[in-house]
């Protein structure tokens, strides 16, 4: 499998949709990192580097959107949060057409350390009415999501990551907002994964196969609106649910699934994610190992979920 960072998918996606002259893009001095620079080079007159000023970037984005532009704004996920309240009040409330992209999310960010390792973006953006929250698993899905967003009306937040991840999808892949993608069928348990953890979940499923344990692997690329009916259906079928995300276990994908299940079909859950702690410098691989985000941790979670249901 070739490996490409999802932020590169953002770059190529934005470049593609950029043909539409109504699309504008903004960045806050990070376009070489977020990859919005590809758009910036191709369409300099429709690209605005506002300087290191995330709050202003969001207010400007809102003004552009209120004047009919389709707006893509990017920064690191963590620094997008600098403008969180701007996004809430000036973009989300009036439901303006601003697509925010936060790169360098999660422990995948690695060496930069805890300040940049954003582990709470799902939690905060998910709590905003009107806002779709997207977390693609590979570069292809990211590119398709950008193409989708270009024609979607309304505010959204999408997270991408810095490090390369294996490509899972081919170019025929179709992105459907709010639809989980079943990548592997099973019966004993279901792993709902997002972002780089989708690959880890697929690896875990392969290993578990060898022990005769068959699991569903579902790619949840849309954290909000979450695919309620799929979550309920597979929870009822397997009675063992595992969430997996490069995000705090508080407020993210695991929480979103728990909200759905506790209302509709209470099910024992295991949550693979960051256990309410800030990170540190290290390679993404080392951090995934230390903080419990690898396929091995998913395997343990699956086994424990299966044990719990037989009790």
């Amino acid at each position: 499998m070739p490996e490409i960072a999802t932020r590169d998918g953002y770059g190529t996606g934005l470049l593609k949709v950029g043909k539409n002259p109504n699309i504008v893009a903004l960045d806050a001095d990070l376009s070489d990192s977020t990859k919005s620079q590809e758009f910036g080079k191709a369409y300099p007159e429709r690209f605005f580097n506002v300087g290191i000023a995330e709050q202003d970037m969001i207010s400007i984005s809102a003004g552009l959107a209120a004047s009919g532009k389709i707006v893509f704004a990017s920064s690191f996920s963590i620094f997008s949060e600098r403008a969180f309240e701007h996004f809430r009040n000036t973009v989300a409330r009036p439901k303006l057409n601003v697509k925010l992209c936060g790169s360098h999310a999660g422990f995948k960010t690695g060496e930069d350390g805890s300040s940049a390792q954003c582990i709470e973006d799902f939690a905060v953006y998910r709590s905003l009415p009107n806002v779709a929250v997207i977390s693609p698993a590979d570069a292809v899905e990211t590119e398709k999501a950008v193409e989708f967003l270009a024609s979607y009306k309304g505010p959204s937040y999408m997270r991408t990551t810095r490090a390369k991840v294996p490509v899972i999808f081919d170019s025929n892949y179709k992105f459907e907002l709010g639809r989980g993608v079943v990548l592997k069928k099973g019966k004993d348990a279901v792993v709902f994964a997002t972002g780089p953890l989708v690959h880890e979940a697929l690896k875990a499923a392969e290993e578990l196969d060898k022990d005769g344990i068959k699991i569903y692997v579902v790619n949840i690329h849309t954290i909000k609106p979450i695919d309620e009916s799929l979550v309920i259906k597979l929870a009822r079928e397997t009675k063992a649910v595992i969430s997996a995300e490069d995000h705090n276990v508080i407020g993210g994908l695991g929480s979103a699934i728990a909200e759905v299940l506790s209302k509709n079909s209470p099910t024992q859950m295991e949550m693979v994610g960051v256990k309410d702690t800030f990170g540190e410098s290290g390679t993404p691989e080392e951090l995934y190992e230390k903080y419990g985000l690898t396929s091995k941790h998913i395997i343990n979670a699956v086994k424990s979920a299966i044990r719990r249901k037989s009790k």
Binding site: I52, R82, G113
Partner: protein, 268 residues
């Protein structure tokens, strides 16, 4: 005063900075090299502190708001004995104390948990206010980047310090002309920068931030009535020709060939 010793020290630190970032194969050389002369003088000449008691109440504080350029700070702190130079090898590595962005939780001598630009000056104001409440005569120094000055929060703090009549606060602008993706004047021109700070109520001193003599006399002149900002004209990447004023080396480590060349130029 004779500044030769400080100049030599700064040259050694430049070598250590390149070595540290080369070993880690990640980090921010440009902003480290532009700041190192000033940091060397701050710790080697001006500030009072005690490495054996990093939280000594009466110490002068240095708030490094542009904490991505932490290798510069780490070389100076190690030189004064806050930790061993052995730590340099573990910069940005799991298990090391030298984080990718300077962080008070991890490293003795580091005052400010940095990484998000635009927050250091407010933090420094807080320390200065506490010093006044506690009747301490310590000084608070805060270094900002020029790109950083595009953050609105910098100007909220710029407004606050003179309003609180803080006399023990000295800001230092590392005006190295380049940010992450290009030249400051092309991205978001800050000029007239001295007039801006003046109009917010600051005393200003403009210097060549690579002249040890000018740095030292500016630091001596800085603490007077009201907050002062030293606007230090510097060069991003100073000392390594191909890094100078080159945004490509904002946040990138040199490769083997570049490393060799850099070390030659620094007479390592």
């Amino acid at each position: 005063m004779d500044t030769k010793a400080l100049e030599n020290k700064a040259r050694e630190h430049r070598i250590e900075i390149i070595q540290m970032i080369y070993d880690a194969q990640s980090g921010h050389p440009g902003g480290s090299l532009s700041a190192i002369d000033i940091l060397t003088a701050l710790y080697g000449y001006k500030m009072k502190f005690n490495p054996k008691k990093p939280d000594w109440e009466d110490r002068d504080r240095f708030v490094y708001s542009k904490g991505h350029a932490c290798p510069a700070l780490y070389t100076v702190l190690a030189d004064h004995g806050y930790f061993s130079r052995e730590e340099f090898k573990k910069f940005r590595k799991l298990g090391g104390m030298l984080q990718g962005h300077a962080d008070r939780k991890w490293t003795p001598g580091v005052e400010f948990s940095a990484g998000s630009l635009g927050q250091g000056l407010g933090f420094a104001i807080g320390i200065a206010l506490a010093g006044r409440l506690d009747k301490k005569d310590y000084k608070v120094y805060c270094m900002l980047g020029d790109g950083e000055c595009e953050e609105g929060a910098v100007w909220e703090s710029a407004m606050a310090a003179p309003n609180f009549r803080l006399k023990n606060l000295i800001a230092i602008l590392d005006y190295n002309k380049v940010q992450q993706t290009g030249k400051v004047k092309d991205i978001m021109n800050l000029e007239p920068i001295e007039d801006k700070w003046k109009s917010f109520g600051w005393r200003t001193i403009v210097i060549d931030g690579h002249s040890m003599k000018e740095i030292v006399s500016a630091l001596d002149a800085a603490v007077k009535d009201g907050p002062t900002i030293i606007i230090a004209n510097t060069k991003k990447g100073k000392g390594v020709s191909f890094m100078e004023l080159n945004e490509k080396f904002h946040g990138k480590a040199p490769n083997a060939e570049e490393y060799k060349k850099a070390m030659e130029e620094l007479n390592a």
